[in-house]
Amino acid sequence: MANGEIVESFVVPVHPHTVLAPEQNEGWGRLRKAYDDAAKIIQDSGADLLIIYSTTWPSIIGHQIISDPNPEWVMVDHDFHELGSIHYSFNIDVEFAEQWNAENKSRGLQSRCVNYHGFPIDVGSVVALTLLNPDNKIPAIIVSSNVYADRSETTVLAKACRDLVKRTGRKAVAITAMSLSNRMFTEHIDPKDDRIHSLKDDEWNQKILEFLSEGRLEDVGQLSRTIQQQIRVQKVVNFKPMWWLSAMNDNRNNLTGKVLAYEGIHGAGCAVVNLNPTPSGFGDKEYDEDDVEIFTGERGVLDSNVEQESKVETSEGPALWEPTKAEGSVNTDAAPKPVGAYPHARRVGDLIYLSGVGPRQPGTNEIPGGPIHDNSGKPLNYDIKEQTHAVVNNIARILEEAGSSLDKVLDVTSFLVDMDRDFQGYNEVWAETLGKVGPTRTTLAIRALPTPIAVEMKVIASV
């Protein structure tokens, strides 16, 4: 399978001035020019997907992803309505949206797709897409910022997306619609008097931009909490876009950065910054936080009933074992624990043999798409597609640990507990994932698997 990648990344401002009134202030005009230059860079990059993480779209139930193929409406800013209206009509990559949504769920995130006529696309996304993708040539994806999410949740959201980009061979541009310092003037001002609200905000913004121009994205990510304290007003969404953007870029510190413009809009620090994956000279990180792959919950107010229910469901299955470690064994925390004495995989020469992989989630042991029966054996409704997606993701993680990848899978034996019910859904997910790689495949119907899952795969891959 072709290896997808993030071909460019951008930080862009959210306020409507760059679209509606670039001529009213020289700084706004320079931001607009930088936006236009960014559009050109995107066009030249050959990108086939724009992914926007917008800080002006807050969400409460996990993250939301637009999946309306053609959202159309008229956007008016809550504050700057006198500048006029922006008519929008965007081109959304629904397939990618749905895949990302499934991927999020398989990593323990709350996530949902949003496809409703008249859904109000937020100002940041509207401004960014209007200017970066003027003729809608490149399909786009828009994701919300969760109000309660912290670093790990935001990072896992990005990794789910990044891995999907890689797996599906996309050439994607990652964009955060955001302000740096976000304190605005609390009074109406004459446009020509606009500037950054305070010297303190300006100095912090300059520091952030210095880091970004050196390609030190992960460093800015690690400073996010400090930045929030220093130059951010407590609006609905905290300063988290740098966590997302950094994880989209493999948490790297040696990108090639360029500040295309930096100006004030009604006092807020607004910049257009381009980050290209070409390595530059600043590879080291001073420290690293948990390099989290799976979200296991940190918000502390999850509905306690729900949590208990899922615990009961998973605690009654077979006991979990530590993977065995004979020579050539490959084991990872990023895959579910075995239900017996065996390793996740074993390598012999250039070949890797995987033990049967199911959809259970590492850490939580939850089953995406739901278990097939409850503890008493009462059948439950489950989603075979989500289970199959989760299996493929687990396989990918084990292969990565073994120094291989999904596109090196040679042979698969699949086991389904209900061929009549599940073959079609399983086959659909296969077609959009492993089917694109092209391994040989055998699918068998069996009576049961050791845990309440509907699908398991046995894999052989090359290194």
């Binding site: 969400s59 309505h81 407590q234 107010v301 999850l302």
Partner: protein, 298 residues
């Protein structure tokens, strides 16, 4: 012209779940009911004001968030589809509302004179926020009275709850003075929840009431404390404790609506009528009426 008056003030929360559960024809999604305690509370509020005459409704909703001063809807009519950006599965409401632009302008002018930053909103494409619409619908589903819609100035974010309170006390005073001078009879509505910590998950059937409860005991205690103050006519204590309440209960009072409401009523020292209390996706919500008409000075 006769002197205008505020006939009643109400705390009238706006989670879109309430409209969803009512299944009005304007809302696209269909529910199997839910949140009855609160919906019955709204019913009691409507009954309580049945027979009281008034000309206009003034609403302050935390979901028209403005960072540059306080804004007022400034056109006679707004019609569109409102889709809640957070719960689009529950709220896609076709609204058609009339605005009392004259009264809005009067409050705007009065507040401006008092030193507050103000602006009229006259862009016809503007979409009215779902908080205003939900409160508007639940309070008076007939939509037959013109509204004044005031934005929520997020000064608590910029400064502190104390500064927000100062500004909202001032806005409340200006609102009251403008209403008295207008000669109109008016109901004022603060559209906000009390404790405001949400669940971060939603049950498969959103209206599954077996899943609904307050997020934590601490939130419950705060809500009950505030309700006690309202019922016993101790609104000054609410003002005094607002910074703590707002912080500890992550209360939606940060939007300023509640302080503004109490100020329009001159911080009442008579008992309010509690029409209902209930939780919505973990947040605490009370429907409360200050029956000014019963406490008119002679």
């Amino acid at each position: 012209m006769a002197q205008g008056e505020i006939v009643a003030g109400c705390l009238a929360p706006h989670p879109p779940h309430l409209v969803y559960a009512e299944n009005p024809e304007q809302n696209e999604p269909v529910a199997e009911g839910g949140w009855e305690q609160l919906r019955w509370g709204y019913e009691r509020l409507r009954d309580s004001l049945n027979g009281i005459e008034y000309d206009a409704i003034v609403i302050l909703s935390p979901h028209w968030q403005t960072y540059v001063g306080t804004h007022f809807l400034g056109l006679e009519n707004f019609q569109s589809l409102s889709v809640d950006p957070i719960f689009p599965n529950l709220f896609r409401y076709h609204y058609d509302m009339n605005v009392d632009v004259e009264l809005a302008q009067q409050i705007h002018d009065k507040a401006g004179k008092a030193g507050l930053t103000v602006k009229m909103m006259t862009n016809p494409d503007f979409r009215v926020d779902y908080g205003t619409i939900t409160t508007g619908h639940m309070f008076r589903p007939q939509w037959d009275k013109p509204l004044v819609v005031i934005s929520s100035n997020r000064s608590s974010a910029y400064y502190s709850v104390e500064v927000m309170q100062e500004m909202m006390m001032e806005l409340g005073k200006a609102t009251r003075e403008a209403i008295l001078e207008s000669g109109k009879k008016v109901v004022v509505l603060a559209s906000n929840s009390l404790s405001h910590r949400h669940f971060t998950t939603e049950s498969e059937i959103p209206e599954d009431m077996s899943k609904e409860h307050i997020t934590s005991h601490a939130m419950h205690l705060w809500d009950m404390r505030i309700i006690d103050y309202m019922k016993s006519g101790q609104c000054q204590r609410i003002i005094d404790e607002m910074p703590e309440f707002t912080e500890q209960a992550i209360a939606e009072t940060d939007g300023g609506a509640f302080t503004w409401l109490l100020s329009t009523l001159e911080v009442p020292n008579y008992p309010a009528i509690l029409h209902g209390y209930g939780t919505i996706i973990g947040t605490g919500n009370a429907i409360v009426e200050w029956p000014v008409y019963k406490h008119k000075e002679v």
